[in-house]
């Protein structure tokens, strides 16, 4: 993923925004904390042409009410996801997300549960079919996820 290209793309996507604020008044996260203010996230993007390293975009719950209501059809969810993608490439994904990606890499799923078969057999459920682990690893490698994981390990070493 070309970071500059993606950044330029979301700045263009954000352009129709006229700061009416319906996104913020529809946001369940903003309702309980000022940490994520979708209107300001968009404003910062347009005004400063950059993504600040605050990491606030990770608080988006992805409920999509903001873009459902946006009168100019700005896809805030897509913009926030791209901001998170860029943040991840810079080594800024939260540790809980990194854990999930590690689980995906080793198991092909992000859920983990001890005594899974016992739990399922209580309900007479068929054995869960698991994906070929090598296939998942290969696809994650090809799409750059392993490199992003490694950049997080390096960040940890620096810190």
């Amino acid at each position: 993923m070309d970071l500059n290209l993606e950044l330029a793309r979301i700045i263009e996507e954000a352009r129709p925004c006229f700061q009416c604020g319906i996104c913020s008044s529809s946001c369940p996260v903003y309702r309980v904390t000022p940490e994520l203010n979708p209107r300001l996230a968009i404003d910062n993007l347009i005004q400063k042409n950059t993504i600040e390293p605050s990491g606030r975009e990770w608080a988006c719950a992805l409920c999509l009410m903001c873009e459902q209501r946006c009168p100019t059809g700005v896809s805030l969810a897509h913009i926030l996801i791209t901001m998170k993608n860029i943040s991840a490439q810079r080594g800024g994904a939260p540790s809980s997300v990194i854990e999930a990606i590690h689980s995906l890499l080793s198991l092909g799923v992000i859920a983990q549960s001890s005594g899974l078969e016992k739990k399922r057999s209580k309900y007479n459920l068929p054995q869960l079919q698991l994906p070929d682990h090598d296939q998942i690893k290969k696809l994650l490698e090809l799409t750059g996820a392993i490199d992003i994981l490694e950049s997080h390990l390096k960040m940890e070493e620096i810190e």
Binding site: A59, L104, K119, P131, L139
Partner: protein, 299 residues
């Protein structure tokens, strides 16, 4: 009817009793479910946020697997529905994405052409089977009052999912009504349950849940009814954490819709299904033996 069954990680790993109720109801309605070695859908808040490219290609593997088997996908999870439907849209509306995912899939000996679709249980029951047909299977009126919560990822983005009105959903209300249940209107019906932000900001996620619980309990329901496993966990287990964090005293039972349908159909094994709940609800499974006993007493 036959579908590739995509239970999703949350149901298969953490809420197997929900999976059981889906399988019980499907069998009763003549729906055959085929199990395939799917990977994580992948989950948008983690995988798509981490890398959109990885998300798209891993979703394509699931779509390709269903296509290989000549089946449409049926899921019980709204997150999986949204992830797979959105990926399908991204792949099929942009030729460059179709090329990109097929290049990646080729390396694992797979390919995708975009012939198969993905639906949620909600769509199967309401849009394909229909309320009237479901009504024919109802043997017992459940007679409780509930608040329904369809789930964000079933409702939005509407232009792609088209499952129900994204601002004023009504179909889940109609689905509970046919079981003899009264759906109550309440404030914040389409508000998020808080799960989406739990990994990034735990406190905010439970504050969102507190707001949602306040709205739901204001109309004094006997239970909440959901069609999303993450919302189920958020409400059922999360309310205890909300109580601890904010000094509230919520104790609202939660049902996944097919559990209620199975109860109304008087299907067996529902005692075991309900034993998986952490907040005991107002409904119990009536086994055929008990029913006969009741009739004897009444006569």
């Amino acid at each position: 009817m036959k579908y590739a069954f995509f239970p999703g990680c949350t149901i298969a790993y953490w809420l197997p009793f929900i999976e059981k109720s889906i399988r019980l109801v499907s069998a009763e309605l003549g729906i055959e479910l085929i199990d395939l070695p799917f990977n994580c859908c992948p989950e948008p808040n983690t995988v798509r946020s981490f890398s959109s490219e990885s998300w798209l290609v891993l979703a394509a593997r699931n779509l390709a697997l269903a296509e290989e088997n000549g089946l449409d996908i049926l899921t019980g999870c709204t997150g999986c529905l949204e992830s797979l439907a959105l990926a399908k849209h991204e792949i099929e509306s942009k030729p460059e994405n179709m090329e990109k995912v097929n290049q990646a899939l080729e390396s694992i000996g797979m390919s995708y052409s975009g012939k198969k679709s993905i639906i949620h249980m909600h769509q199967l029951l309401y849009d394909i089977i229909g309320i009237d047909k479901i009504g024919e299977h109802v043997k017992r009126s459940l007679k409780i009052r509930v608040v329904t919560h369809s789930g964000c990822h079933l409702l939005r983005p509407y232009n792609i999912l088209q499952a129900d009105d994204p601002e004023a959903p009504i179909k889940l209300d109609k689905l509970v009504e046919i079981l003899g249940i009264e759906p109550l209107d309440y404030m914040d019906k389409t508000m998020c349950c808080g799960t989406g932000t739990r990994r990034a900001n735990r406190e905010a996620s439970f504050a969102i849940l507190r707001e949602k619980m306040a709205s739901m309990t204001m109309v004094e329901p006997d239970a909440a009814v959901v069609f999303c496993p993450s919302c189920f966990t958020s409400f059922e287990s999360g309310q205890k954490i909300v109580n601890r964090m904010f000094g509230t005293n919520y104790r609202l039972p939660v049902y996944y819709y097919t559990e209620l349908l199975a109860l109304a159909m008087e299907l067996s094994e529902m005692d075991t299904v309900l034993s998986g709940h952490r907040v005991k609800g107002p409904l119990s499974a009536i086994s055929p033996e008990n029913r006969n006993l009741n009739q004897t007493v009444q006569s």
